[in-house]
């Protein structure tokens, strides 16, 4: 099977929906977060800690980080699919991207929750 084009991976819809829902969540969170920051302005260390320490904020910030990683996963993976053509190399880039994003998620949460 040298020249046959193979298509039909059934994850198009799932990824498309995920990218849109995560974008909508991040947009909404960003607006609310900006409003919260504005209401506490000028922001000092104490005010920042008080804002980020609450359970509700941790819950929504956790979802935000997850959404960011899922959104970035679909976007970056699509970029590799477009620009990196050899299958083995594309797969390797996918794995590296998934690992990097998982690491970034953990790192971001450890920073946020350490407060």
């Amino acid at each position: 099977m040298v020249s046959k084009i193979v298509v039909g991976a059934h994850y198009g819809l799932k990824d498309w929906l995920l990218q849109r829902f995560t974008a909508a969540y991040m947009a909404a969170f960003s607006l609310v977060f900006a409003a919260l920051l504005a209401s506490r302005w000028p922001l000092d260390q104490q005010a920042w800690r008080a804002l980020m320490e609450g359970g509700v904020m941790r819950f929504f910030a956790f979802i935000f980080i997850l959404c960011l990683m899922v959104h970035a996963w679909v976007g970056v993976r699509d970029t590799w699919m477009d620009y990196v053509r050899p299958t083995g190399l594309t797969l390797a880039m996918h794995v590296l991207t998934a690992l990097a994003l998982t690491g970034y998620a953990g790192w971001a949460l450890s920073i946020l929750w350490r407060l």
Partner: protein, 236 residues
């Protein structure tokens, strides 16, 4: 009888003679009968019979004379000469291999079109007269069946330029929805299965070049959105 001169810059390439493509500056005398770009091209062809381009019906029905006109895809037979800025730059449709001059090889375009099975699939025994539709069911096909497959939209789409072998393209997807929406078709689920792929449908990035260039005023983006709606309804 008044005449006027029109200036053209035309992409020329004859693979048998030319090492690489070049732009030819050429002018032509037009009279008051010449209203469409195709009229001017026919006169140019009379002046230089080596110029190659497709044309047939000369009234926007066959879709043969699609080309890139001053940077935007369109049909020469529907383009008013008066609307064009001079020199009129003519190039072949982008993203398809050039056979000669303004003449492109549309094999890849039709391969994608055929891949969506552009025909009614109905396994019921054929009725004695015809398969009837209500006026509402018939109205679903408006804005879809009018496509003349000129390839203006698909060859204006960067997603098709990048993945012509995997992405169906706006013309093919418009036709895919034409059969998904048809009340007489029984293969809706199989058609959706065929498109639920990261390349075939979801390489559409809503750039909307297709809507901008369609010479028939159709909206492939809306059809693509409706296919996504149908898939979502099926999934949830």
């Amino acid at each position: 009888m008044s005449t006027r001169t029109m200036q053209f810059r035309i992409y020329r390439y004859d693979p048998d003679k030319d090492e690489k493509p070049y732009m030819q500056d050429i002018s032509v005398e037009l009279d008051h009968h010449d209203r469409k770009l195709l009229d001017a091209l026919v006169k140019l062809k009379a002046k230089d019979d080596t110029l190659s381009f497709r044309r047939s019906c000369r009234e926007g029905v066959c879709g043969s004379d699609a080309m890139n006109i001053n940077g935007k895809n369109g049909l020469a037979c529907l383009t008013d000469i008066a609307s064009l800025k001079q020199p009129v730059t003519l190039r072949p449709l982008p993203g398809l291999p050039v056979v000669r001059d303004l003449f492109v090889d549309m094999t890849q375009f039709f391969k994608q079109y055929h891949s969506i099975k552009p025909y009614l699939i109905n396994n019921d025994p054929p009725p004695e007269t015809e398969r009837l539709q209500s006026p509402e069911e018939r109205a679903e096909l408006d804005g879809l069946y009018e496509c003349i497959l000129c390839a203006c939209c698909t060859t204006a789409c960067p997603s098709f330029w990048w993945n012509p072998d995997k992405y169906v393209g706006p013309a093919g997807l418009l036709q895919a929805y034409r059969f998904i929406a048809d009340s007489r078709d029984q293969a809706t689920s199989a058609r959706l299965d065929d498109l639920e792929d990261p390349y075939r449908l979801f390489r559409c990035r809503s750039i909307m070049n297709c809507v901008d260039v369609c010479p028939k005023g159709l909206n492939p983006m809306r059809a693509i959105g409706k296919i996504k709606d149908a898939m979502t309804k099926r999934a949830v």
